[in-house]
């Protein structure tokens, strides 16, 4: 074929050693593919992919700490992703986050080769059109099926990732393009606007009480009238949060 053959730098992410070994063996036989790293969990993947900026990540879904989708969400410049998993139920979600391919375990050599061919095609198309890939976080939000909600929030803090289960979130405050997530006495700054986070939260638990604030209603102690049409929410720990008229209406509807 006359098509230009790109050199592909690949990283394998899988928590099972035999699965990594199989991928390693298959990749070694693929011409033009260089294996630059292997990771055994989501944290490691995040760090290594950031350092190595590979062209391709072969990504398992179910892993300790961060699953494959969460890794993808946290990557600022996501590479081409091929999901490799025994589960078929994530396929739709995978394509919503623009995965190049979705390969099922047990993996066949030809099936992986086909995925690599697709990666090459995608890389070629991008080189000619220089189409920008949307960031992982917007994709992550888009990929959630209607009716399902975020179970935990991920906050990148330098090289670390804080994983905050939503039930431990007290409230979230807008801070320009960032959001301040308050949980267990600490505030975590997440590089995502409040609106985007709020859209992914369970509306039965989190209410946008104000343009700039989303409240976990389980933390609410009482509401007090502050001025005409304006209220404050007093939380169980004594903290006061502003409640707008629209926010009060939403709260009333829920409670």
């Amino acid at each position: 074929m006359a098509a230009e053959v790109f050199r592909i730098r690949a990283v394998i992410v899988d928590d099972e050693a035999p699965a990594r070994a199989l991928l390693r063996e298959y990749l070694a036989a693929e011409p033009g593919v260089e294996l630059v790293g292997e990771c055994a969990n989501g944290f490691e993947a995040l760090k290594r992919i950031g350092e190595l900026s590979p062209d391709l990540v072969l990504l398992d879904v179910q892993m300790p700490k961060l699953d494959g989708f969460e890794v993808l969400e946290l990557l600022e410049v996501p590479p081409a992703v091929v999901f490799v998993t025994a589960y078929d139920e994530y396929a739709l979600k995978a394509f919503e986050v623009h995965a190049v391919d979705y390969v099922m375990k047990p993996i066949r050599r030809e099936r992986l080769a086909e995925a690599i061919r697709q990666v090459r095609e995608r890389m070629g198309a991008e080189k000619s059109s220089s189409a920008r890939q949307p960031s992982g976080s917007t994709l992550g939000a888009a990929a959630r099926a209607p009716g399902s909600h975020l179970e935990r929030l991920l906050v990148k803090d330098g090289a670390n990732v804080h994983v905050i289960p939503v039930e431990r979130v007290d409230w979230i405050e807008a801070q320009d393009d960032y959001s301040g997530i308050r949980s267990e006495g600490k505030t975590f700054l997440k590089a995502q606007p409040l609106g985007e986070i709020a859209a992914g939260l369970d509306p039965a638990r989190f209410v946008r009480v104000h343009r700039s604030c989303v409240l976990n209603v389980e933390r609410l102690a009482r509401l007090e009238l502050y001025a005409k049409d304006s209220r404050v929410a007093i939380l169980k720990d004594g903290k006061e949060l502003p409640v707008s008229r629209a926010g009060y209406a939403r709260l009333k509807e829920l409670l």
Partner: protein, 360 residues
């Protein structure tokens, strides 16, 4: 609620029986001392209604002295003393009611409530109460056997369900897919290890199919299956997954429903060890204490892991199957801590030998 007062038919039948008893008693009283029927009825009918009510109390006396567990002499004593007490009460009420009728409304000298009337009342009162107790014992026994039947049926349904579930678990596609993927990986570099894993997987499938078809298996067999499962998973997870067991004396021979702990073991791997970077140890403890078998399945967990679907299903299945055995003694306790997940099962400790004695 009292079984005789349930519905409409039962109270009606009960009152009809008392009408018959009333006719008999009335005839007896007339035989020893003929008098105006109206006067006798005025005295006797309220007394009959009163005693019909008193006899319902036999229900609680019977429940307090269950046939199965009360010694025969105690049982006889309970029946005689309750019947005599009830009879005495009836005589006293009868005498007072007779006196009241006579003094308040000046019934003529053929008044009912003479010593002879009261003697009839006393003797028949004791006999009637004893009969009422017999009747209630009959009702209780019938109810107990119906309950037992229901329980057996429920346990059969739960067992069938467990079997189906077990079949699905053996064909648990993800377990199989991942295992096949591991075999495929090993086949290249370590063919001997690949063969070993084929063997393990085969043993596990065969054992779980065989176990699922039986009604009761020794706990040792159940544990053996869990160990096969964990051995297969250990190929995938490597050093991250370890297993510990501590089996007290007599526990291995206890009979348990097949595949009882299998869902717990699978959860321990899937929702515990697999979620942790450093992995962890699945621990199984079993001991016999006071005639009960206590099984503990324990695994470390990641405090930040979201609660996943499917975890509750296996636990619910275990709960139902244990409840079907004997809801009075079986228990499922779940301890969910930040870093640790424990499930404790309590069930009657029986082994084949004791069963033979009971089953004879």
């Amino acid at each position: 609620m009292h079984p005789i007062l349930m519905g409409r038919l039962r109270p009606a039948l009960y009152l009809a029986a008392w009408a018959g008893i009333g006719l008999l008693l009335g005839a007896m009283a007339q035989a020893v001392h003929p008098r105006t029927l109206g006067h006798l009825a005025l005295w006797l009918v309220p007394l009959l209604l009163f005693y019909a009510f008193v006899c319902l109390s036999a229900w609680w006396v019977c429940r307090a002295n269950p046939l199965a567990t009360t010694r025969p002499d105690r049982l006889a004593l309970a029946i005689v003393s309750a019947s005599v007490q009830a009879g005495v009460v009836w005589v006293i009420v009868g005498a007072l009611w007779g006196a009241l009728l006579q003094h308040r409304w000046n019934l003529p000298p053929d008044r009912p409530g003479t010593m002879r009337d009261l003697l009839i009342l006393g003797v028949s009162g004791v006999v009637l109460y004893a009969e009422s107790m017999a009747g209630h014992y009959f009702l209780l026994t019938a109810e107990a056997s119906r309950d037992a039947e229901r329980r057996v049926f429920a346990s059969q349904v739960a067992a069938r369900e467990a079997e189906l579930r077990a079949l699905r678990a053996q064909l648990n596609p993800h377990f199989l897919f991942n295992s096949l993927n591991s075999i495929s990986a090993l086949a290249g570099a370590e063919p001997e290890a690949a063969r070993h894993m084929c063997g393990l997987l085969g043993d596990f499938l065969r054992a779980s199919l065989g176990l699922g078809a039986r009604e009761r298996v020794a706990f040792a067999e159940e544990l053996g299956l869990a160990e096969l499962y964990l051995a297969v998973e250990q190929v995938r997870f490597g050093e991250r997954l370890t297993f510990q067991k501590q089996i007290g004396p007599g526990a291995a021979e206890c009979l348990v429903p097949p595949l009882l702990i299998q869902p717990l073991i699978e959860n321990a791997v899937k929702h515990g060890v697999a979620d942790r970077i450093e992995g962890g140890t699945v621990r199984v403890e079993a001991q016999v204490r006071d005639g009960l078998l206590e099984i503990l399945v324990e695994n470390p967990r990641d405090p930040e892991a979201p609660a996943r679907r499917g975890q509750g299903l296996g636990l619910e299945n275990v709960r139902q199957r244990l409840a079907a055995l004997d809801p009075r003694v079986t228990r499922v306790d779940v301890f969910r801590e930040a870093e640790m997940f424990r499930v404790r099962l309590v069930l009657p400790a029986t082994n084949g030998r004791e069963n033979d004695i009971h089953g004879r």
